[in-house]
Structure formats: C-alpha cells, structure tokens
C-alpha cells in the first residue's frame, strides 16, 4: 500500500468504507429481510458522534466506538418502532427516519446546522495507515457477515426473511431477531460513519441524505440481497464509478434508482443471482 500515491490511497479508503457500510445494511436487509431506505441516518449518527467527540479531545478509537454505540441505540429504537409495521410500511418508516435525521441535524447549532462540522481532527495514522484501517474495516465486516450467515443466527434470519409467521410457530422470537439485525447493522454503519468523518474531515447534513441511503441500498440489491461476495463487488464498483466519471455524481439518484428498479424487475437475485443462473446454464449446456 505504501507505494500508492495519495489519489489511490483516497480511493481505497472510500471503497473500504463503502464496502463495510453496504455489508452493514446487508445484515438487516439481505440476511434478515428488513428493507431500510434510511440507512444513511445511522451512518450519519456515527459520523457526527465520532467527529464531535474527537473535536472535543476524545481519542479517535473511543470516538469511533461511541459513534457505533449511539448508532446502534438509535437502530434499536427504530427497530422497535418497525416491529409493528411490515414490508412496504417498513420502507416508508425507515425513509421517514432518514428525513427526520437530516431535519433534526439541520436545526441543531451544536451539530453545526446547515454548515456542518468542519476541522475534524486527523487521527494521525497517515494516509496509508488510514487507508489500511478502512480496508481492515471492510475485511472485518466481510468476515463477520460470512460468520453470521453460517451461524444459527443466519439460519434463523433465512427463516424470518422467508416467512415470519411460520418462524413464530417454530418458537422463534422474531422481534428479538429483527432487533439483533438492526443493532448489529446500525452499529457497523455507525462505525463506517466515524471513519468517513475522519477521512473527509468535514461533514454536513447532505452527506447523509436520501441519495446516500439509496446508494447503500443499491449496493445491497445490485450485489444480490444476502450475498456477501455480490454486495462487496457492487459496493466496490458503485463507489468507484462516481470517482471516475464525475457526471455520475449529479445523477446518482436517477442512476441508482434506475438500477434498483432494473435489478428488482429482471434479476431479483442481483449480480450473485445472475452469476448463479449463468453458471447453471453453462453447466446445463
């Protein structure tokens, strides 16, 4: 990594954060089947919390951990509220949480209001060190995702995502599993947010709005809901594209919204599902 120039290090850093955050939503939406159109709110919570704390002199690691914790607390609260609603309503509820987050942050002077938080202190790891940390974050969330998928928790998530009512008949406490998914997924999103804040050193409400939520969801859906490998690939590609093609940045909502629609319409299994289908056809031929 040390041979890379600053530009490539910053790309690697951004990609690492995106992969981790996309996988954090994948725990909730992909594994447990709970759609969220407001994931950026948790990412933003972690970012604001960590940034304000390190600005106040708290050590970087403690700031990151606090951001993750606060995001998880908020995640559990939203999870509790969402236990009463299902499917399409959950989409609307989480979208509402996303807008609420932006609305509240904009109004609060302590949170920097419209102007955001600037001059976030440098963690002192150097560009390469920070890039390495973000890659480590992505790798750790990937490993954790694979672990969860193969654990009994992942087994239960499969059942909850498929048919909640039947899961209950089998004695499974569905609400507690949903809350576990929300807590884990939002904590990791909060951690990603803290990393993001200390990478760009300046955050504003717009960084955590609806477009960001849709971008994260697009990575999960395009990658293939629930597939760790597919989501990693989609997160890498979708976070690099806007860096290479500047104009994409202006049309993100249109592009990702369109991609989301196309995937749901033509290949509900996303990249992972399409790959499996192609492999099966090649084997069959």
């Amino acid at each position: 990594m040390l041979g890379l120039d600053a530009y490539h290090l910053s790309l690697i850093t951004a990609v690492g954060i995106s992969v981790g955050v996309a996988l954090s939503l994948n725990l909730i939406t992909g594994f447990c089947g709970q759609i969220s159109l407001g994931h950026a709110a948790f990412y933003g919570t972690g970012a604001y919390c960590a940034a304000l704390l390190t600005k106040a002199g708290v050590p970087f690691a403690l700031g990151l951990a606090s951001g993750a914790l606060l995001a998880a607390v908020l995640g559990v609260v939203v999870g509790l509220a969402s236990l009463r609603v299902r499917h399409d309503f959950l989409a609307i509820t989480t979208m509402g949480v996303g807008f609420l987050f932006i609305g509240v942050v904009r109004q609060q002077d302590v949170l920097g209001g419209e102007l955001g938080v600037s001059a976030i202190p440098d963690p002192g790891l150097g560009k390469a060190g920070f890039a390495l940390l973000c890659v480590g974050f992505a790798a750790a969330v990937s490993a954790f995702s694979v672990y969860v998928k193969r654990s009994w928790m992942g087994f239960v998530f499969d059942a909850v995502a498929s048919d909640e009512d039947t899961a209950r008949v089998l004695g499974i406490d569905v609400p507690r599993y949903k809350l576990a998914a929300f807590a884990l997924g939002t904590a990791l999103a909060g951690l990603g947010g803290g990393l993001y804040a200390h990478n760009v050193k300046f955050i504003a409400p717009d960084s955590f709005g609806f477009v960001e939520s849709i971008t994260i969801l697009a990575m999960v859906v395009i990658g293939g809901i629930g597939s760790v490998g597919g989501v990693v690939l989609a997160a890498v590609v979708l976070s690099l594209l806007p860096q290479w093609f500047q104009f994409i940045d202006d049309y993100k909502l249109l592009l990702y919204g369109g991609l989301l629609f196309a995937v749901m319409r033509f290949s509900p299994g996303g990249l992972a599902g399409a790959t499996r289908a192609v492999l099966a056809r090649m084997r069959g031929a």
Binding site: W152, F155, A159, D163, D165, V169, G171, I172, R176
Partner: protein
C-alpha cells in the same frame, strides 16, 4: 401421566360478522389422541389457531397444563411445548426440506439470538431432522427445495417440523390431505405409534376412516358449535352428526 393437558373453555371467535366458534368447550387428557372433526367451515382450524395464538378469542380461555395462554405470543406458546402442523402448508421456500426440519430441531439454540450467534454446528440437528423425515416417509426428498415437491410431501414436512420441536402437545390440521391412500395410512400409523410412545395429539382430519381407526375419542364441531363428543363409534352413529356430515358429502359429490 394423567390429567388435563389442554382445555378450551367457552371459546368464542368472530371474524367481522361471522361467528367461527361459539362457546366451545372441550379438553384433552395427557397422552390422548383426540380427533376434532366436522364439515368444512365448522371452525376446526379456528379452534386450533386459538390454541396456537394465531387468532385471539373474543371470549373464553385456553389453558395448557394449567397455564392460561391468553396474552402469550405465538412463539411463547410454541416454547411451552405446542407443535403445530398447519392446514395450508408454509415451508420456508429458501431452505431445503432437511433444513426446514433442522431449524425446528434447533429450538433450544434459536430460543435466544445470543446463543444462535455463537452456535454454528448444525450436524446434530440435521441428523435428527433426517430421522424425522424418515419417520414421516419423505427422507428421499431431504435435499430438495420445497417448491419442487407435491403437496403430499409438504404436508408431511409440516408434521416432521412440528415433531422436531419435541412438543408435549402436537396439533395437526388435516395432515393426511393431499396424501394418497397408502401414504395416508402410513402416516396415520406413524401418528398412532407416536401417541403410543406417550405424545399427546389433537388431530383435525377429514379422512374419517383413518380418524375412526386411530382416535380413541372425538369432538365434533358444526357451524362453530360443539355438537357431539365421545368414542368414535357412538359419535358417528348420532343422527345430528350424520346430518352435518352427510349433508356436506352429498353437496360435495
């Protein structure tokens, strides 16, 4: 071993204007195989659902081994030892037959998300699941996806999955529907064996010859009311029971 395991007292359930169950009272002794019969729309499934918690009675109480179930969630009731095989099959379509049953067999692990997060090995539960699939006669399809299988398999999957919960009371809603005569007879024999080993069962079933063969006692519902109760031979010779039934089978013929 003896004593009342299940008791419904004056259970009334209405859906909008429709009275599905009206003041229904009956009980099931420990180790009993009780048949619950009646024509279509009589309220049998509704009675079962008021036990599992899928529907909430407007009136009346359901107790299992002395526990009043009112206010308990579906999952809490399952954990009290109720195994439920549903009339309309509900397999997890994203899991193989074997894993559908293995998940239920892991109920001691899945009880707590924390335990589930730290447990990975599924081999014991899969072995147990395979035994249960063998027991109900569908082990040949263990690796198949539910979407590829006929109804007769999925009905037996429901039974195997309920058994995997190691229930103290097995609630079966038309488990023989969709099975051919030979398969139905075999599954009915299996149910009788399980009951012989001490498992208590409430069996809803339209296949009257199998019901008469394996149940020691029947409760008959018609139009949401209990119209008869007793040993099968006597119950089925009653004029009101025959009328409720024959009326329907003529209508169906």
């Amino acid at each position: 071993m003896n004593g009342q395991l299940l008791k419904l007292e004056s259970v009334t359930v209405t859906f909008g204007g429709v009275v599905a169950l009206s003041e229904v009272t009956f009980s099931l002794e420990s180790s009993e195989l009780l048949g619950l019969i009646g024509p279509n729309g009589a309220g049998k499934t509704t009675a079962l659902r008021s036990i599992t918690g899928v529907v909430t009675p407007q009136h009346g109480t359901v107790t299992v081994a002395g526990h009043d179930l009112s206010g308990l969630s579906i999952q809490a009731r399952a954990r009290l030892g109720l195994g439920f095989s549903q009339q309309l099959v509900r397999p997890f379509f994203n899991l193989s037959l074997l894993d559908n049953v293995a998940l239920a067999a892991g109920h001691a692990i899945t009880r707590s998300p924390r335990r589930a997060l730290f447990a990975r090995d599924r081999s014991r539960q899969r072995a147990q699941a395979l035994e249960l699939l063998e027991r109900v006669g569908i082990a040949d399809a263990a690796a198949s996806a539910p979407a590829e299988l006929p109804l007769g398999y999925l009905k037996r999957l429901e039974v195997a999955r309920a058994l995997a919960l190691s229930p103290r009371l097995l609630l079966l809603d038309e488990p023989l529907a969709g099975l051919n005569q030979q398969e139905a007879r075999r599954l009915a024999d299996t149910l009788r064996e399980l009951n012989g080993d001490g498992l208590s069962m409430l069996l809803i079933e339209h296949n009257l010859s199998e019901v008469m063969r394996i149940c020691a006692r029947l409760v008959v519902l018609d139009n949401g009311r209990k119209i008869a109760e007793g040993v099968p031979g006597e119950v089925m010779s009653r004029a009101d029971v025959r009328r409720a039934y024959l009326g329907e089978s003529y209508a169906q013929a």
